[in-house]
Amino acid sequence: MASVESPVTPPPPGWARRLPRDERLFLWAVAASVLFMSVFVVAWLAFGGQNVPTTTDRVAPAAFQQQVQSFIAEYRGDDGRVHVPPGEDAYMIAARYAFYPELVLKAGEPYQIWISSVDALHGFSIVGGGQNINLEIAPEHAYGATFTPDRPGVYLVVCNEYCGLGHHTMKGRIVVER
């Protein structure tokens, strides 16, 4: 182990001298790239338009449940689904083990959908449709996400945060009509 520098013996005297030029240059280059990526990610969020815009609010589970019940009562159709008129806020509850109600949206129209949980942590995950959207859903907090569905179809919503022994059965649907 008699190499010049050994990791198992105390460092030789003078080890704390100034870093050589190439190592300093490397560190500055790395710091610059961290800065560049930091700026880029903010710009991408602001101008890239990749993500659905979200807002959040605090809400007690009981109050949220009440809000959702009156929403369902108002817009429930004969097919059991809730037909949300464009411009209206939509609501969805995550509860073990389902997302409800099933929403029917019009393609091309922006909707603000509020989601909250009445029991455990859940994951709201819209799968398929070429782009996943994943949000962490917690009791006491409501997530408001603005979606503009562009393609008609039936989209599956699954829970992707483990919430109990029936977790793999937890699903919901969003139907997009022309």
Partner: protein
Amino acid sequence: MAYAEPIPQSFAGLREEPSRTCAVTGLRVYAGAQALTVANAVAAVLSLAVGGLFGLSLGLTRAPGLELLGPDAYYAALTGHGVSALILWPIFFEVAAMVFASSVLLNAQVFSMRLGWSAFGLMTAGAVLLEGAILSGEASVTFTAYPPLVATPWFYVGYLVFAVGALLAIVNFALSIVAARASRATSGSLPLLTYGVAVAAILALISIVSGLVALVPALAYSQGWIGAVEPIVYRGWFWGLGHTLQYVNVVAMVVAWYGIAALALRAGPVNQKFTRIGFILYLVFTVPVLGHHFLVDPSLSTEVKLVGGTMFGFALGVPSLMHGLAVIGGVEAQLRRLGPATLFGWLRRIDWGNPGVAALTCSLLLFALGGWSGTAQTTLPLNMVSHNTMWIPAHLHGVVVGGTTLAFMGFSYFLVPLLVRRALWSTRLATIQAYLYGAGLFWMIMAMSWAGTLGVPRRTAEIGYGGEAPGGWDLPMNLVGAGAGIAGLAGFLFILNIVLTLLRGERTDDPERLAPSGAA
């Protein structure tokens, strides 16, 4: 090994234990330090065996073509895998490293053997309680145990007892360093490996304290002593444990990298200061990066997420980049000392059949892969796409299994023979094991990433959703199962080789047999 019996003592200055001089490193090895290190390493390997078995069963369940376990057994195994492979195995190994780095590397005894064995006893008791609770099926809450999910109290008690044991081990580590300096067994700055382990120990301390803040109320809630624990608040404190612990693992992995490079290739760091700055940066950036677990949580503002998750997340990649290059640079510098070589000619001086070289190479590559995918997902926009899909286990298996576990395996191939003075049972098997494990993991990680891109949820027993699941989920998940099978086989070969080394390895003091050189 004339002195296998540990000698109880309460203070290092009280009695001078028997010691020997290591044939390879020239370091002084005291009997107590040796016994305590080996005990923790053995507990670590047993935990890995259990965690690996659980992990293999998960992989074979997630493959739709197999579905080995039913949902209830799957969630129990999922809990067992997280607890055994992500908590018990690395922490036992890190305590072994702490004992080793604060005694053997400092030519000193362990400060207090009684404290050391108490810590080991508590950690073992905690581990047994945890495994028992999980196997009883009363603790299928996954290792994160988010309330209002509740487990049997033994599960929380197991966590807490294990944590107290680990705290005692950290205290003993710090006091051993102080005692070694006071007794002038060592002087000047700490050796690099001890320095790195000290950084890991500080992070472990932060991690454990945060874990206590999360788990004590969770236990109280599970027993009905308090009415509620807000899940999102618990989640924050829990990841103060879970996230910080992953950086304990990363720092310990880097220590193992330098250790393997030193033992297999006689290589040291290119620049001690550069390397130590790297370790300090882990201390600075680890805690704020906690935010990257909450990038799509409803409880934090976008500004906090961008700074705490994303920007510090980029910065936290810097020390890993520094160490990865510094380890390779140290190896290059050492191999160039053997004679002039062209730009990449020094690579030809490496014996790729050496187990240390195999493990170090695969660990560096897989950690880079997992680190890259982690950095990508730490950006707010991409996290909304990848959160809690199979992208997340793809990332964490790259860094924790490919990086940390494989580095610990490679380090064990040298540490264990040196400590018990027995040659590795099979050096060739060790080399094959490291490459096979690396290949199996690479396969599994790529398949997991593919599945994640398609939106397959993680931690989910079945993904059929009554026939409603999008097409194309089955193939990548079947490939995940195949990769897990290969990695599981290679994991078994590691355990086999270490156990046979402990029991039947040939007794020797020949440096070339104890720490075979990886320089051709």
